[in-house]
């Protein structure tokens, strides 16, 4: 037991790698939340009238809503009036030419290991870099636009492709969907927009890197991905934030639309600041992610590796509307110290012959709480729907918890739905087996955890898989249960 404790102590003393922040002159909205702030943000972004009205409508609905309390997480209430809803580096002049972007800002991303310099990139990944409330730069726009692919910041898209935005904004996650989605709809500052035209297979991974830098600022970005008929895109999302003692709010909305025969793969490696070992500080990650398989034979696949955030509240979902459409959800959620995660998915089967697959792997260590919450719903008309769910939890240490809340609601007799879940710790026999073969306990744990999460990690694009594996090893280093 004493050995376990010392190892756990070592684990809890691990530093968060991306905890630094930089000072830059920022263009900020006043603190507080009211209609004037929303008008201020909208004016700042030179938005058309319809969007301002959309925001205000969302805000007015939000005022009538109450904060959800059903999730298995506990945290002090956030004073939304004490937050700043817009903060942007002052020097920024969004330019299509990367050479004109402030080198200081590029340096921030270099330090995070994200190169915004197209020539330096080994692999073809186009990046939209979002710092606090604005998009700093978007790479490879030229290459992509030759194929007709639109990949730019949300603000630019509003100006350049208003008809697309107007058509799809809020079509998957209605502005009144939930408390945080409504808040996001009212105050969202920037995000990424991507449109893949009919029949185009996007030749490179598209990616958004979110960075929170400013203090007392909430980040509210909005991502909209539209994959027209017969197109394909793989999209990555990464995120980090400085270590601060106060909690910061991140309430994003991601919407995905997939047309007939379209395929969208959305991968997230979430590494927001998780708070210190006493549970002080850290990001509140309250995110609404949802995709609709609108066309027949379409497919949306969510892959997530959740290692950061003090509190995570996130359920990437698929609405399987088109016949023969497929939804997938692969997740590894790791919690340590005082982190709390309540994450899972919803698969709503509406079309006939729709299929979904859920693989969720939770790992809890320290004093953390890790919950899987998922719903599989088969509507009356969804003949021959098929779902398979597997939720496994691994516990390390006797102060943590792992919880499973699967909801299975079936209204069609031809549905086949299977759910299985297990909870256990790493077997002593497994460790012993490794020890016998000369593998130290520490390495054995890393090996076993990696093997445990492999099914999900395999779904990640290669560059991300490497990062995710490292992250997993780092987060759990020393945690021998």
């Amino acid at each position: 037991m004493s050995k376990d404790n010392s190892i756990l102590e070592e684990l809890t003393s691990k530093e968060y790698e991306h905890g630094w922040s930089v000072n830059y002159e920022a263009d900020e909205a006043p603190i507080g939340l009211n209609e004037d702030i929303i008008r201020w943000i909208s004016a700042k972004k030179e938005e058309p009238q319809w969007l301002l009205e959309w925001r205000l409508k969302a805000f007015r609905t939000w005022l009538t809503m109450t904060e959800p309390e059903w999730a298995n997480v506990h945290y002090p209430k956030i004073d939304l009036q004490a937050l700043r809803y817009y903060s942007a580096p002052k020097q920024i002049k969004k330019s299509k030419n990367l050479d004109e972007v402030d080198p200081e800002l590029i340096a921030i991303y270099e330090r995070l290991g994200i190169s915004l310099n197209e020539q330096k990139r080994l692999q073809g990944i186009a990046v939209d870099a979002v710092l606090d409330s604005v998009s700093v730069a978007t790479t490879f726009r030229g290459t992509l636009s030759k194929l007709g692919i639109v990949f730019c910041s949300f603000s630019e898209a509003v100006k350049e492709y208003p008809e697309l935005i107007q058509k799809y904004l809020g079509s998957v996650v209605p502005m009144t969907d939930n408390y945080y989605a409504a808040l996001n709809s009212a105050v969202f500052s920037d995000g990424s927009f991507c449109y893949i035209p009919k029949g185009v297979r996007c030749p490179m991974e598209l990616s958004t890197y979110f960075r929170i830098n400013a203090a007392n600022t909430g980040q509210f970005e909005r991502t909209l991905i539209v994959a027209d008929d017969e197109s394909y895109v793989s999209y990555l999302e990464g995120c980090t934030a400085p270590s601060r003692d106060e909690n910061q709010l991140h309430a994003a909305v991601v919407e995905i639309y997939a047309g007939t025969h379209a395929q969208v793969k959305y991968s997230t490696v979430q590494n927001w600041y998780p708070g210190d070992k006493e549970g002080k500080g850290g990001i509140y990650n309250f995110v609404t992610k949802r995709g609709i398989c609108a066309g027949d034979h379409s497919k949306i696949s969510w892959t997530q590796v959740e290692t950061g955030s003090a509190v995570t509240w996130k359920y990437p979902s698929c609405i399987l509307k088109g016949d023969y459409s497929i939804g997938e959800f692969y997740s590894v959620a790791v919690t340590n110290n005082y982190q709390q995660a309540d994450t899972g998915t919803k698969m709503i089967h509406i079309g006939k012959n729709t299929k979904s697959r859920i693989v969720s792997k939770g790992i809890s260590a320290g004093k953390s709480q890790n919950s899987y919450r998922g719903q599989v719903q088969v509507m009356k008309r969804a003949d021959n729907a098929r779902n398979f769910s597997q939720c496994d939890s691994l516990l390390m240490g006797d102060r943590c918890g792992a919880h499973t809340f699967p909801y299975i609601d079936i209204n069609n007799p031809s549905a086949k739905v299977e759910h299985e879940a297990t909870t256990s710790k790493i077997g002593e026999d497994q460790i012993f087996y490794c020890n016998q073969r000369g593998i130290a306990t520490e390495d054995a744990v890393a090996l076993i955890v990696n093997g445990y999460a492999k099914e999900v990690l395999n779904q990640l694009p290669m560059e991300f898989a490497v990062e995710a594996q490292k992250l997993l090893a780092l987060t759990l280093e020393g945690s021998v249960g």
Partner: protein, 422 residues
């Protein structure tokens, strides 16, 4: 608003509650008033809107009056082949004159046991209906099995229910089982008449060390019966509690089965079948609370749903921080037979200890096409083959019933249902 008015109807009931068990009732009353009836979106009653059902079907919120039950009633109600002792109830009231005197077992009215700590096992704070029962029950029964008693013959708790005057029936049962004893209870209710009534039952079982309790129940009452039942047991060291619940009928039935594993090396087993047709709605909520190390729980519930019936299953395994070396298994399988049948299932794990083996599985599906084909290829017609396979599906639960005569009785009811249905 509707729940408010409903609460008012119950509050007059609270006013008129008997005067015994004063502190017990007061505690429950406070708890009930604090909880109120479950609201429309209350998580625990999400798919079972019992408040609305009560509003629609119950007009008289006063206790159903006792009525005359005859030996003839009893004779015709007891299933064929039963060999054991019978305790008879009418609308929740114990009828000693029709009941057996069981050697070595103490049976008395609850009102004669005013010092009993009612509600110490089925705590009123957990559920509004349990609180309502505790605040307003008329009378109930106390059954005590002494130490080292091997009660070989099952005890049949046979209730006759009907709306008589009021439509509320609130049975209350307290069972004590001494150390090293074993006993089997069979709980069966018979509806007399077709009219609606509401049964709100609470059964508390206080097990001794190394005791073994088997509690079997068959719910095959009238089509208009609304029922909420709470069975809660504390399971001591080296003890087992086996529950088998067979639901076949009713309007809306909610079963709360709570097992508290409070002694090490204890075992809680929960098995159930819900075979439903018409518009019957059955909701099985089970909760097993592992509070100590080295305990085990097993659960298997199977549902077959035809017509417009609805089956709800919510199984919760709760493993507390101290409950290391826990083994907990849970399984729920459902077969939907019609377009309009619905199943809502939520197998839930809440694990706070690390050295545990917990798993749950849940399926919703149809009969295996290949198995069906196999039987058809051998000259069995499709309907018969289906019946055969469904019977086998339910069989896995039936075989958990140790009392042979009762198992055969349940089996015949299920076969009859499957035969008539398919």
């Amino acid at each position: 608003m509707s729940t408010l008015t409903k609460q008012d109807s119950f509050s007059s009931l609270i006013e008129a509650a008997p005067k015994n068990f004063e502190s017990v009732r007061t505690l429950a009353k406070v708890s009930y008033l604090a909880q109120g009836l479950p609201a429309v979106k209350a998580e625990e009653y999400k798919f079972t809107n019992i408040s609305k059902k009560l509003e629609q079907k119950i007009t008289d919120f006063s206790p159903a009056l006792p009525f005359a039950v005859t030996a003839e009633h009893v004779k015709s109600a007891v299933y064929e082949g039963f060999d054991g002792d019978i305790l008879v109830f009418a609308n929740g009231n114990f009828l000693p004159e029709l009941s057996a005197k069981i050697e070595g077992i103490e049976v008395s009215l609850l009102s004669e046991k005013s010092e009993l700590a009612l509600g110490s096992i089925a705590k009123p704070g957990k559920d509004a209906f349990a609180a309502l029962n505790q605040a307003t029950f008329q009378d109930g029964i106390f059954i005590s099995v002494p130490k080292k008693a091997q009660v070989e013959k099952p005890i049949l708790l046979l209730s006759f229910d009907q709306a008589n005057g009021g439509q509320l029936i609130q049975p209350r049962v307290w069972i004590e089982v001494g150390d090293l004893s074993e006993v089997t209870f069979i709980d069966q209710s018979i509806s007399l008449g077709e009219s609606s009534y509401f049964v709100n039952e609470v059964v508390e079982v206080k097990g001794g060390v190394s005791s073994h309790v088997h509690y079997y129940r068959i719910q095959n009452e009238g089509k208009n019966v609304i029922e909420v039942s709470t069975i809660e047991a504390d399971i001591q060291k080296d003890s087992t509690f086996n529950s088998v619940n067979i639901s076949l009928s009713g309007d809306m039935v909610r079963n709360n089965l709570n097992l508290n594993l409070v002694g090490s090396n204890s075992e809680g087993n929960m098995y159930g079948i819900y075979l439903l047709n018409g518009k019957t709605h059955v909701d099985n909520h089970t909760n097993v609370d592992h509070t100590i190390p080295h305990a085990e729980s097993n659960e298997l519930y199977k549902g077959i749903l035809a017509d417009q019936s609805r089956g709800v299953f919510n199984g919760k395994i709760f493993v507390r921080q101290d409950a290391q070396k826990t083994n907990a298994f849970q399984q729920n399988n459902n077969i939907l037979l019609s377009e309009d049948a619905t199943v809502n299932t939520k197998p839930q794990l809440e694990i706070w200890a690390d050295d545990v083996k917990c798993s749950h599985g849940c399926t919703v599906g149809q009969l295996d096409e290949e198995a069906l084909f196999y039987l058809q290829a051998r000259g069995i017609d499709k309907l018969q083959a289906k019946g055969l396979l469904l019977h086998a599906f339910a069989g896995e639960v039936l075989e958990k019933i140790k009392t042979e005569s009762f198992r055969e009785y349940c089996d015949s009811l299920i076969q009859e249902r499957l035969g008539s249905k398919f």
